[in-house]
Amino acid sequence: MYKWFFAWRYLHTKLIALFGVASVTLCVAMVLVVLSVMGGFLDTVRERSRGLHSEIVLSGRSMQGFPFYEEFEGYLAEHLPHVVRATTPEIYSYGIFRVKDTPFTKMCQVMGIRLQDYVKVNDFGNGLNYDHYYPGTTHLGLQQMPVAAFSDVDTFLLPKDYMEANARWRNRETDPQKIDAFDRRPFQPAMYPFQTVPVPGERVFVLDSSTPRYEGTERYGVIVGSDLLFQRNAAGKFERDLARGAEVVVAVLPISATGNPMGEPPVKIPLRYADDSRTGIYEIDNVSVYVDFDMLQKRLAMDPQPLVDGSMTPQRANQLMIGLQPGVDLYEAKEVIAAAWDTFCDSLRLTKLDESLIAEADVLTWEDLQRPFINAVEKEKVLVTFLFSLISVVAIVLLGCIFYMIVEKKTRDIGTLKALGASARGVASIFISYAFVIGIVGSILGTIVGCLFVWNINTIQDWLAALHPQLRVWSPDVYSFDKIPEVVKSVDALCVGSIAVVSSIVGSLIPSYLASRVWPVQALRYE
């Protein structure tokens, strides 16, 4: 009991103890902030990676894709309706994205999707910008450019289906503040014919006359990754400077089933900017454009092609997205679907080429697909946490020094205690208990400081940025996320706090041992 009595009394009578508490507090706060921000970063990446794909993906490893995906969709619907909820094929290729009549060009990954089905198997639909305020108006089929007009009451009018879609959003939206914000700035008008770059805004429509209408040649729609096309302002909002329905061009290179490029010049596909999407992962949003699956399949010559013998090659896709029924275990489903794919393939009469393409197709979970990316962030988290923990070792050394100084200063008291009957172990326990109390107090304070810092990290950053723009450390136009993650997990706080307490005790071990070895006769003569 006297050990705790000593520990507690030393804690609030010795100024030097405050330095110990301060070092533990700072270390705990520092590691907790790093762990929370990196953990939040990782969780966001994981969550958004999950939203990119369906739960299960039948994925071809080669760019020429694999055949019989449609037949397999039918097979799944027939044999595994209790496991599979929805399926949709996907094609991916690489190309050059260009905004017509501008010098803007960029390399891109072209994804061929069936939008109506695609949004059923992942979160893609939630990241669409225009479709959010005008639900149902975004599609990848043939379309013209919507042209807005002034109404008599000095507001804008859009074509009828846009107005109806917006009314649906209003009815659905529960937050009146969002409706107010929309009404204050329904969209940014771009003058028509637009020879100048429109003033950037959240939504940009061409504004012309008193009659809202559709105009221009019918083109297939394209959904563009937000970061590919637009810059973000300091507040993290995209500055859209392209009117909806504007013409863009994507150039792709078709590849035959054998993997050889087909045709002399690359295929140029004129498209209309239908929407922009945001998955929340910069590396994806910076390169992806989404076009109609069937159109892209034809343009890439992945549709049935005639052979010399008069037969046709089967159509190909690069991936088959498979959404699961609610409650179905991901890993069990993977096993079942993989087995189904094998059975399905065995039932086919395959040419050598088809067989080789099918052999390239694997059944994967969304985690398998994103593993390299998630692993990279995980490693980054471990590395940063490790580095900061290493810095925290300084605190252990500091505590060791502090305790050594205390033991030196208290040598005579140690002698007195031994004269009063305290054992060597008891004397050591005083200093270990003292370290424990310092660790506990430091951990509690550090957790409070760390939590307050993380919870207000964006406010702190805004404040720093207000002092000087160079002090902004998290730039939304660089990172995928608008805000620095500001959630502290209780398990992280508990782990960091516990490790800090153990570290404090470790730091005190050598001085405690030295204290226990103090020779009482010498100690009592110590001046």
């Binding site: 009991m1 002698g415 004269a419 060597a424 006769v521």
Partner: protein
């Protein structure tokens, strides 16, 4: 016979030279006795006291308490012996500066109890400590820190602390050595009173006046204990043990 030292030898190493402090010292103290060991400064009085209180072990010889060999006891038992059977009073008080008077007095009792058992005996211990403080005339000072007390008061706290566990023997090392004559006299009166109440006291001093209170006086000279004879002198000059050995 309560306490006995038989043929004690103790040598210290000071730098490169060895200092033979005790060279076959023997003594005994009976229950209720007030025994004084006289000797010059550096003659080994404190060393003898430390050996009697099991703060140190002799190189040779035996210390017996109540018939038990203290020298060969395991460390834990020696700790318990110091805690339960011995009360130390030091010349420089050795009070713990972070604790108040009451807490200083209670410390030896706290050391003897484990966490839970202390909670059980806490009230009784505080009452007993308050009683002892009253006996030494410090009940008003219970909440004061040592630095707020005079030298005499500090020594009285040290006496109270030494008595809290009702030890069989009080070992006092020059208890008046750091006090002026008047205060020293008060402390002596206090110790005499405790002795008259049955407390065994072994005190070491170089002060003949202080020694006059004792039932029996021994003189430590040349590392050996002799009965003190009045005719030997009136005072003990400071003598460093190295000089003594060299002589």
């Amino acid at each position: 016979m309560l306490l006995r030292a038989k043929n004690i030898f103790k040598t210290y190493t000071l730098g490169r030279s060895e200092v033979r402090v005790l060279r076959g010292a023997s003594m005994k103290a009976d229950k209720g006795e007030f025994l004084v060991v006289l000797g010059a400064s550096g003659s080994g009085k404190s060393t003898l006291l430390h050996l009697l209180g099991a703060l140190d072990v002799p190189d040779q010889g035996v210390v017996e308490f109540d018939g038990q060999n203290v020298t060969t006891m395991p460390t834990r038992r020696r700790d318990t012996y110091r805690n339960a059977q011995v009360g130390f009073i030091f010349q420089f008080y050795h009070l713990l500066p972070e604790f108040n008077v009451l807490e200083n007095v209670l410390m030896a009792r706290m050391i003897s109890q484990s966490g839970l058992s202390w909670l059980k005996v806490r009230r009784t211990a505080i009452r007993e400590a308050a009683e002892i403080l009253e006996r030494v005339g410090l009940s008003e000072r219970a909440k004061h820190r040592p630095r707020e007390l005079s030298g005499g008061e500090r020594q009285r706290v040290a006496i109270a602390r030494a008595l809290i566990n009702n030890p069989a023997i009080l070992l006092a090392d020059e208890p008046t050595g750091n006090l002026d004559a008047k205060i020293g006299e008060e402390i002596l009166r206090l110790l005499t009173a405790f002795n008259e109440a049955g407390q065994t006291i072994v005190m070491v001093t170089h002060d003949l006046h202080v020694a006059s209170r004792a039932h029996r006086r021994l003189e430590l000279k040349g590392g050996v204990l002799h009965p003190y004879r009045e005719s030997d002198g009136t005072a003990f000059a400071s003598l460093h043990p190295t000089e003594e050995v060299a002589r």
